[in-house]
Structure formats: C-alpha cells, structure tokens
C-alpha cells in the first residue's frame, strides 16, 4: 500500500516548503519528502527578489522584472504574481523579517561588502548601509572567516555614508575551533563559560572596544532561537543598536529560517519526511502514478494526485551534470545546455557563466516542458532552483524565485486536484 496524499512535494528547501504551504493553504493534504538538508543552511538568510539586472544594481525589484530574459522564471510568472507571492510570504515570516515591498536594501556582510536584498532578518535592520550612523564592527578572534577591521576598511573604501571601524575581541572560555552553530547554542542557553554567562561576557568584551559608535555589527551567530532577545539585551548593555552581518555557510540565519518554515508547515498540517531520497518514478499515459523513496535499504512508495519537483539546482541535486551532459535525474525532464563543456563556464570566476542557468523550463502552469514544448507529465510541476534560466547569484534573485514559483506551483497543484 502506498502512502497517499493530494500533493507530494519532492525536496524540502525554500521552494518545496513554500509550495507545500501554498497547497495546504488552498485546502490540500500535502506531504514533503526530502533527501537531505536544504541549501538554506548555506544561504545567508536574506530573501532577494531581484537585486541586479545585467550587472546593474536595481532599487525597485518589481519594476526591474520587466527586464529579465524571456526564459527567466519571473517572465513566466509575471510581475504581479511575484509580488502577490512575496506579500503572502510576509505573512508567514511575521516579525522575524522586515523590508519594503518596493525598495531594495543594501545590507553589510562579514566580507565588508554590501549586498542588495528585498527582505532581511530583523536582526540585521539596524545595519543598513543607507543609514548614516557611526558603526563599529566586531569579530571574535577564533572565527577566521570574519575580520572586522578588514571588513570595516572595505566598507569605507566602498564609500558607505557612515564612519566605520572594526575591532577584534577574544573570549577565553571558547574552544579554538568553535563553530557558528555551537556558539549560537551557547548564546541561546546563556551558558556559563569561564565563570560568566556568555551574554555578559560578550557584552563586556564588546564594551572594551566600543568607543561611542551608534551601532555595533556582529557576525550572525547571536542565537538560533531568540536572537531578538539577545540583541535587545546587548543593545541595552552597550547603549548602541546591535545588529548582525550575514555570513557564508554555515549560516545561522539560514537555519533560523528553516526552523520558522518547519513550524509553519507543522501548523498547516503538512507531513514532513526527511532523510528519504526519491529514486524511482512510475508513470503511465503522461501522468506520474507514484514514486519510490528509499529508507534504510527499503523502498517506500508514495502516491499523490499532483507532484511538485523542488529538488533544487546544482547545489541541491535537482540538476546534475556528467562530463558531457546536464540533466534532471529524477523525472528525466529536458534541460537545455551548451553542447560543449568549454561553454558551460567563463574564464574568470565572476562570469558570466552558463552553468548557473541550468535547469528545466516550464509553462505558465509551472509544468516542466520537453524539447518539443509539451509538458513532461500533466500532474508534475516544478519550483525553485530546479528551474533554469536565472543566474540567481548574479541577479540576487534566489529566494524570490523559490518563493514565487513555489507559491504558484503549490496553488496550481491544489486547484488541479481531481476530486
């Protein structure tokens, strides 16, 4: 007997979770089956909609959608749907995030750059680069990825409209190679290290380098559970607005967002099955009949009326390449690609590369299309980075694409259910 649902979402990243929430909100019974951790754990936690187009920084993401290529997922959706999806998603995010629907923000990062985004965690709000208040950046000497004095010097060189300085602190009680998530858990529990609660020790260490700056930036490691409480505590103790800087992986804000969405899925009654890769597909007459996952060497069948492919792009494993071809490994959906591997990449790391655009192409219903323009299966939709046509890192559009395509695919799947 197969496990049965209205909608089966394959892949539990941002796109899959969004699709599941949208389908559940429309009244369907939904299950998400996911192989492994999603790329949200790598992602900064910022939610971009569209930050650059043809390399140019854009202030209003929705206005700029008109300029994307015709095979871009936003072109398929249209500006209105992207905006509706984001507005709906804001309701799920609640207080945890902020931003303005028509204006991007520039958020300073640990690398000493500013990055354009549409929504950012509230913990980063005091740090915006448009704000002209004096700023101190602080790092901990045992986290080698962050060097606050260098980051401050880079921001200054970029001409930010505020004075900025960096300083390093040391916290003797910590392990030499402490990870970000370990640090965040210590902060969550306010554990005592070197005879002092960690939040007090952190406040004291920062105070020793603070010189009256109006705001203080720290790498995004201030707790997984209640960062707002920690930030309020530190801000009061230091008499300055404390904020977080987005980091490279492992990303604490990415992990917080994962937890937030998992809680929302739980509330919506969506069933989550983690650690199970879907490996096999059974289809007939142009419809997916059921799929099989494997778990502990046994094969588990899942059946649904509608299926959503949200297995991610190259990072998630939804798009894979061997030495000569790029393909979508599960359903074998068509993926267009340059014939010669030498054309997959540019000679410099900045690009423009072809590989970030690898993925399936869909119709307005979000159904993957074959080379002849026909849907691969009538009851299969795609969402997120498995869809090609976008260079999300260059365009600063990653989360927006996952949210908008996930929302649309989830709603359409719910509408299509044969009752």
């Amino acid at each position: 007997m197969a496990i049965e649902d209205d909608v089966l979402v394959i892949g539990g990243g941002l796109a899959g979770m969004t699709a599941a929430l949208a389908a559940a909100a429309a009244g369907s019974s939904v299950r998400v089956v996911s192989k492994a951790e999603s790329s949200l754990g790598h992602a900064s936690g910022l939610l971009d909609v569209l930050g650059r187009i043809d390399g140019e920084l854009v202030s209003d993401p929705y206005r700029a959608i008109a300029r994307v290529d015709t095979d871009h997922p936003y072109a398929m959706l249209g500006t209105d749907r992207v905006r509706q999806a984001m507005d709906w998603f804001d309701g799920i995010l609640g207080d945890a995030y902020t931003g303005d629907s028509h204006t991007n923000a520039l958020v300073p990062t640990i690398a000493g750059t500013v990055t354009p985004t549409a929504r950012y965690p509230r913990t980063m709000a005091a740090g915006l680069a448009s704000d002209d208040r004096s700023t101190l950046l602080v790092d901990i000497d045992r986290m080698p990825a962050v060097d606050a004095p260098l980051a401050a010097a880079r921001l200054e060189a970029a001409g930010v409209p505020f004075s900025v300085r960096g300083a390093s602190i040391t916290m003797p009680g910590l392990a030499t190679d402490i990870t970000r998530s370990h640090f965040a858990r210590l902060v969550d529990r306010n554990e005592t290290i070197a005879d002092e609660p960690i939040r007090d020790q952190l406040a004291a260490a920062i105070a020793s380098v603070h010189d009256g700056e109006a705001r203080i930036g720290f790498p995004a490691v201030l707790g997984l559970e209640q960062p707002a409480v920690v930030i309020d505590y530190l801000s009061a103790a230091l008499d300055a607005d404390v904020f977080e800087l987005p980091t490279d992986p492992p990303s604490v804000p990415g992990e917080r967002l994962t937890r937030l969405l998992e809680a929302a899925l739980d509330d919506a009654g969506v069933r989550m099955t983690a650690g199970v890769p879907i490996v096999d597909v059974n289809a007939a007459d142009g419809r997916v009949r059921d799929v099989r996952g494997t778990h502990a060497n046994t094969s588990v069948p899942y059946r649904a009326d509608q299926y959503i492919l949200a297995t991610g792009g190259l990072v998630g494993g939804g798009v894979v390449a061997d030495r000569s071809t790029v393909h979508e490994p599960l359903f074998g959906c068509h993926v267009s690609q340059p014939a010669d591997r030498a054309d997959w990449y540019a000679d410099t790391p900045a690009g423009p590369h072809a590989f970030p655009r690898f993925g399936v192409h869909t119709d307005h219903e979000m159904r993957p299309l074959e080379a002849d323009g026909m849907p691969t299966f009538v009851n299969l939709r795609a969402a997120g980075a498995v869809i090609g046509g976008a260079d999300f890192p260059a365009q600063h559009a990653g989360s927006g694409i996952s949210i908008a395509t996930g929302w649309h695919a989830g709603r359409r799947a719910a509408e299509a259910i044969d009752r």
């Binding site: 202030s59 931003g99 303005d100 990055t115 915006l128 000497d141 045992r142 060097d147 590369h353």
Partner: protein, 562 residues
C-alpha cells in the same frame, strides 16, 4: 644604481632555486630573479613524481641512471618533502606481456631495484587496482612536493647569503663587447608594498626598472629559455610541450601507479597528500604563456586511467592544470613527436657555442634531477670564476628536515587536532615549534587541508601579500572546496600587516588562480561545489559589484535610527 653580484640566476623553478643554493653554499655571491612567485613556471605545474628512473630505463638509460641516483639523494636530504609511496608498473591484458620482463631487465641494467608482482600481489598494495591487472613491477618511485622543495632550496640559499627576488621579470640582457654583463628587470613593488602590482599571472610585471650587473648570467628559465636567449640575440631551440593533469578529491591509490607499456599518454597516477593526480599528455606548443587548455584532455585522462583504477570513472575531479615541459633539442635533430625528444638536461656555454661569454643556459632535464643539473652548472660557473669549492648539496640536508622527533612532540605540545598537527609538522619541518609557539588563538583557517592561522601568517610574513605563494607553502585552499569556503578567511590574515587595497587585490588574485584550474573540472559534485562558491560570492557577498550607489535609494524598510 645597478645591483652587483657574481652570478645572476634567472628563473625561480627547481633548477634556478637548486642552482642558487649550490652556488651560495660554495660561497659565491648570487642573486636569483623570478618574474612570478617561486615555482610559477613548470615546477609548480607538474606531476610531483620523484622518478625512480624506471619510466626511462628502456628508452633513455642515461636519464634513468640520473633519476635513480637523485632519487636516493633526495630521499636523504629532503625527506620532509617526499612521501615514499613506492610505485607500480601495471600490465593489463591489452599490454604486451613480454614488456614486463624487458622493463625489469632494463631497470636492472640501470641499477634500479625492482620486484615483479602478480596481479593479486599488486592489488594488495593498491586495492582499487583493476582485477584485470595481470602483473606489476614495484619500483622506488615516490611523491614529492615541488613547492616545499623549492622553498627549502631558496631558504638554504638565503641562509648562505643569496638574494631571492620574486616578482622581478628580466626584460633585456646587457651585452658589452663579446660578453653578457647583466640584465635589466622590472620589479613589482616589493612584498609588503605590492599594492595592485600584478603577479605574472596577470600579465607582464609592471613596476620599477632595476639594473643588475654580474660576471655570469645563468638562464634557468625552462620553457622560456628560448625567449631569454633571444634577448641576448641568440637562438636556443627550446620546444615547449604541454601536459594536462587533473586532481581528484580523494586519494584512490597510496602508491604511484603507472601503465606498463612502451610509451603513451594518460598513464600515471600519483598520490599527493589528500588527493591523487592523474596525468599526463604531451603536445608541442608555440608559446609557453598562451596555449589552449582543452577539456577533452581531462576527459581522456580519466577515461584511460579508469582502465587501471576503475573507481576513477565515478570519482570527483576538483581541478585540472597544464604545465609546459622545457624540452630542448640540440641543433640538427628534427624530432616531430615531442614524446621522442630526450628528457636529458643540457648545459650550454654560450661563450663556447656562440662566442658570447658570461652567459650559460641550463635547459631540459627533469624536476627529479634538478640537484644534479644545478651541480653541473655550478661546477662550470666556479671553473669560469676560478672559485675552488666543492659541492655539498648531495650531503647537506635541506632546512626543515632535521630532527623528526621534535615534530612528534609538537603534536602534544600545541594541542592541535592530530591530523592538523601532523600536517603542520610535515609542512613546517623543524620550524614547527617556532611558528606554532605563540600565545595567540590558532584556529584552522582551511579545514579541508587542516591549515592553521599561525601557518598562514608565517607564510605571509615571508611571502608578503601574495596569497598564491601562501597557498603553495601551506596548501591552504587546495583541498576539496578549492577555496569556496576558506579563500576569504585565508585572505583575512593579510590584514592589518597589509592594507585593505592590497589584501583585497591579493584575494582576487587567489580566486582567479583557483578558478583557472577549477573550471576544467566542472561536472558532477565539483560543479555543485563550484556553484556553491559562486553563490556565496554572488548572492551572499555581492563580491563582484563595484558600483557607487545612491545610498538613499536603497533604504528598503529602514527605520529611523534615532
């Protein structure tokens, strides 16, 4: 004011560094000029095989004898740069079975010890070897780290009074009467003040023109030796030949594996630290600075070598790179296939050959025989300068190789995780204690290769703001992630010793260099890894943006601060 010295050595590869060491130890005043960082040329882009000589035993016995002699010497004087992996020549069903005996006999004639193994015995030494292997010959091949070896030679040269000047490109050779009397070189502003001065990887060195005067100028520029000779108005028939290599993310073999057949491409796997390197190909090129790097060559390496070690077909390649052999052909021979050009070294006295005194060229040869090439060259230099000193480079251990027990103690003393400690010790040799003995917090900066901050800072202290040189010394950014996760962290350690502009330019140089090799391995898991690195730099950092925005137009959601 010109810089005066007895001998100028041009080229900072194995040959040049070995020669600088040899001359300095004999008390000769020597300055070495290298246009990039040390090992920028072929030495930094080769397979890292310390030849036993078995490869050449049947076709080029003279080179084979030189290899086995140097193999024994280097295992004594440079043990910390060598992993004595041993090597196998493996015969497959397609190969001529009588060649195994031929090879064995040829090795015996050159004094190379061998053991003939059955296929099953060979698989005990290399479990992933194909079950089809019929027989193998075990030989004393080894893996050698060319970067550390050159640096050790350079350090010893400096200890004996030599000057080593990287980022200094010779642009003309000075002829007076019938002799070469010096060179003019462009020098990038020195380490520590390099600003945006480029390394050679970004094109010719710009910077100050410096004049050098010397009694003898030695051209040790390998594949570029023809270009140098042309600056002196001479012709030197160097025939650069390119070879591709690809680096796997794990080491599938713990011993060198060669295919046992007369000659051919794509027939050798060398384990190195945490990786295995597949090689190589052989194809003549016109210009050693500009040649095609074709993905097809990489595919061929993997396909052909998977016949020897089948799991290579599924394994993950993390980067590929090409080097150019400095093959030299004496006049009048017109060999068409570069694989037929002898690997022997050639020392050319241009006074003798062309009537131009004070100018020598040392070309061809192998990395394995660099010390012998240096000795032969230094003998001639000393003869011409009437210096009476004997060579001791075959006996004197290189810096970093003394007193291995002290390294073991370091492990406990510095309380490092053991693989990190072990590798630190291997890399630092007898300098471990001095480098790690600080009070400062010492986290691992590059976790794939277990490189700590102290090591990175130590390398920066001696290499300056050149992260590629730091990488070469420490292996930081050379593991599975190819710097996707750690390049920024490694770059952070430049600051504040170097200012922001310098630190940022050096980081971009490192990222560019990593990409050069990585782009040839963009499929399978490594494409996923490359996309991850690209997403971090693009989506998270916006690293490639360089606009001057109207800040107030980007105040989305800003609340009034006060």
């Amino acid at each position: 004011m010109p810089v005066h010295t007895d001998v100028l050595v041009i080229g900072g590869g194995s040959t040049g560094c070995g020669l600088a060491r040899d001359l300095a130890r004999r008390g000769v005043d020597v300055v070495l000029l290298e246009r990039g960082h040390l090992t920028q040329g072929t030495t930094g882009r080769m397979h890292g095989l310390l030849h036993s000589g078995a490869r050449y035993a049947d076709t080029d016995p003279e080179s084979a004898r030189a290899c086995i002699a140097e193999n024994r010497i280097l295992k004594r004087i440079a043990a910390h740069c060598i992993e004595p992996t041993g090597g196998l020549f493996v015969s497959l069903p397609d190969d001529d079975p009588s060649y195994v005996e031929e090879k064995r006999d040829a090795c015996a004639a050159c004094g190379i010890p061998t053991t003939v193994l059955t296929g099953a015995e060979a698989r005990e030494r290399a479990p992933y070897l194909t079950p089809a292997a019929e027989a193998a010959i075990a030989v004393p091949d080894a893996a050698i780290d060319p970067f550390r070896l050159c640096v050790a030679n350079a350090l010893d040269a400096i200890d004996h009074g030599a000057r080593i000047e990287p980022h200094t490109e010779v642009v003309s050779i000075r002829r007076e009467g019938g002799a070469v009397t010096g060179v003019a070189a462009r020098q990038a502003r020195g380490p520590g003040d390099r600003g945006r001065a480029p390394t050679y990887s970004q094109g010719p060195v710009r910077g100050d023109l410096v004049q050098y005067r010397a009694d003898i100028v030695v051209n040790a520029t390998g594949a570029w030796a023809g270009q140098l000779a042309a600056m002196a108005g001479l012709e030197l028939n160097v025939r650069p030949s390119k070879g591709a290599m690809t680096v796997m993310n794990v080491r599938q073999v713990d011993t060198v594996v060669n295919r046992c057949r007369p000659k051919g491409d794509a027939d050798i796997i060398v384990p190195h630290e945490t990786t295995a390197i597949l090689g190589t190909t052989d194809e003549e090129v016109m210009d050693p600075d500009a040649f095609d790097e074709q993905p097809a060559a990489v595919d061929r390496l993997i396909d052909e070598l998977a016949a020897l070690v089948p799991i290579l077909a599924q394994a993950r390649s993390i980067r590929s790179f090409w080097g150019v052999r400095p093959l030299y052909e004496p006049p009048a021979r017109r060999t068409t296939d570069p694989t037929d050009i002898s690997r022997a070294a050639h020392l050319i006295d241009h006074g003798h050959r062309d009537g131009l005194d004070g100018f020598l060229s040392i070309v061809g040869g192998k990395f394995t025989t660099y010390r012998q090439m240096a000795e032969e060259t230094a003998d001639l230099v000393c003869e011409q300068l009437s210096v009476d000193a004997t060579c001791d480079t075959a006996e004197a251990a290189l810096p970093g190789s003394e007193d291995p027990e002290r390294l073991d103690d370091g492990m406990d003393r510095f309380g490092l995780r053991s693989p990190v400690a072990r590798r630190s010790q291997q890399r630092l040799g007898d300098r471990t204690q001095a480098v790690l003995d600080g009070k400062a917090v010492n986290p691992a900066v590059c976790t794939c290769e277990g490189v700590t901050r102290a090591e990175v800072r130590d390398a920066i202290a001696s290499c300056g703001a050149d992260l590629n040189a730091v990488r070469i010394r420490t292996r930081a950014t050379m593991g599975t992630c190819q710097g996707a996760f750690c390049a920024f962290a490694v770059g952070n350690d430049l600051h504040p010793a170097h200012d922001e502009t310098t630190a940022t330019a050096a980081l971009d140089e490192l990222l560019d260099e990593r990409w050069k090799g990585e782009r040839h391995a963009l499929w399978g898991q490594h494409l996923a890894q490359a996309m991850l690195g690209y997403a971090i730099r693009g989506a998270t950092y916006d690293w490639y943006g360089d606009d001057e925005p109207d800040w107030t137009a980007f105040a989305g959601g800003a609340t009034d601060g006060d």
